[in-house]
């Protein structure tokens, strides 16, 4: 019978951790790009665009991430496309991330005093120029802390990709548990690795937030 030592378990989990990190990075960056586009639409004051983003955000914030994963996994297959867990997980996590980031960033944009908008529009800047040169440089300063904080949610969100069969840290934990029957050890290690990924980010987010409060 195949024997797993402690180090075998740990090294297998660490290999799978790479996929958790890759999936988190992709979801975070793609979600960020979609989020910026949605942010422009959400603050554009063009009614149909605003309505679209409102419904989009309501859906992705109001339904469980697990349901979204299932919908992408089974929904795309209806079009006759072969769906890998990898593709479904990337898409679902990207859209889910973008909905939250848009809401976070909208809050930051709205915290910029109205006079900044009025001043820049009186200088004949277009909406895009106002955002680019006046609003976003100020808003992004406030946005760093909550954005870093949300990246922790993204890492934790990738754990759900295990359910549709994507082999990352949680799935590797389940598989190792099935092979070794040492659930206490395996899930302790899995939790510990997640903690090592997430805690520095949480700590950093808190630190930036504190620094921002001092500056005021």
């Amino acid at each position: 019978m195949l024997q797993f030592s402690f180090w075998d378990i740990l090294s297998n989990l660490l290999v799978a951790t790479q996929w958790t990190i890759v999936l988190s990075l992709i979801a975070f960056f793609c979600g960020g790009i979609v989020g910026v586009i949605l942010l422009f639409m959400r603050t554009s004051r063009i009614a149909p665009l605003e309505w679209f983003t409102k419904i989009y955000i309501e859906f992705f914030q109001g339904t469980p991430l697990l349901m979204q994963l299932f919908l992408f996994f089974f929904g795309i297959a209806l079009f006759g496309v072969e769906v890998s867990p990898w593709m479904a997980a990337t898409l679902a996590l990207t859209f889910w991330t973008s909905a939250f980031l848009t809401e976070i960033w909208r809050g930051c944009v709205e915290s910029i005093p109205k006079g900044q908008w009025e001043a820049s529009s009186s200088l004949a800047l277009s909406y895009i120029e106002q955002m680019r040169y006046v609003i976003l440089p100020q808003a992004s300063r406030i946005a760093v802390a909550p954005t870093v904080g949300f990246s922790v949610q993204v890492i934790k969100g990738t754990a759900l990709a295990s359910i549709i069969g994507f082999v990352e840290l949680t799935k590797a934990g389940t598989m190792l548990n099935n092979a070794t029957f040492r659930p206490f050890l395996v899930y302790s290690l899995v939790a510990l690795i997640y903690f090592c990924l997430c805690f520095p980010l949480s700590w950093w987010a808190k630190k930036i937030e504190g620094r921002l409060n001092v500056a005021r």
């Binding site: 469980p64 349901m67 929904g75 949680t170 997430c198 805690f199």
Partner: protein, 220 residues
Amino acid sequence: MSYKLQFAELLPYWSVLLYGLVFTIVLTIVSTVAGVAVGTAGAAARTFGPGWLGRIVAVYVELIRNTPFIVQLFFIFFGLPALGLKLSETTAAFLAMVINLGAYSTEIIRAGIEAVPKGHIEAGLSLAMTKWEVLRHVVLNQAFRKIYPALSSQIIIVMLGSAVVSQISAEDLTYAANYVASRNFRNFEVYLLVALAYLALAMLTRSALRALGRVIFKAR
């Protein structure tokens, strides 16, 4: 797309889905009440308790906030029996939810407590109120009023997160959806319906909590 959506195929399973919906609602209500109680105790321990207790609470909060809910759930359901603590899937689901929300609400309520001006506590003590009376009538009163919106959204997040308990076969709404999908293979239809049910549940929870907040924190 040549595929035709057939929602009628879900009709025979309405009772299964209804049972799941009720389970999710009960799970949310129970874990909200218990979780906020844990959170209040944790926050009080962190701000007024002895240093060692505060540190234990801090470790609990950080451990829970920095690991995925599904891993916590697996740890409780699969890991704890190895230590001799065997739980049914329903008990494990309820326990994991309470522990999870407890950690988040500890942090939220603590922020509310710290926002209460020190002078109010001193004023309360100088009126010969006991420490408990000050906590109950001066500190928590104001703290909850301040953090109520944040707590409400955390409750909704936890409600949506509860979909994961289906993975240890606790019979919630998602479990019902998986069950139906495995019977009639109308995966997309059932998941779409259930996703919309969650959406409705989230909206209802939000307005219910808002209405509740208006009753509790009536302007005086």
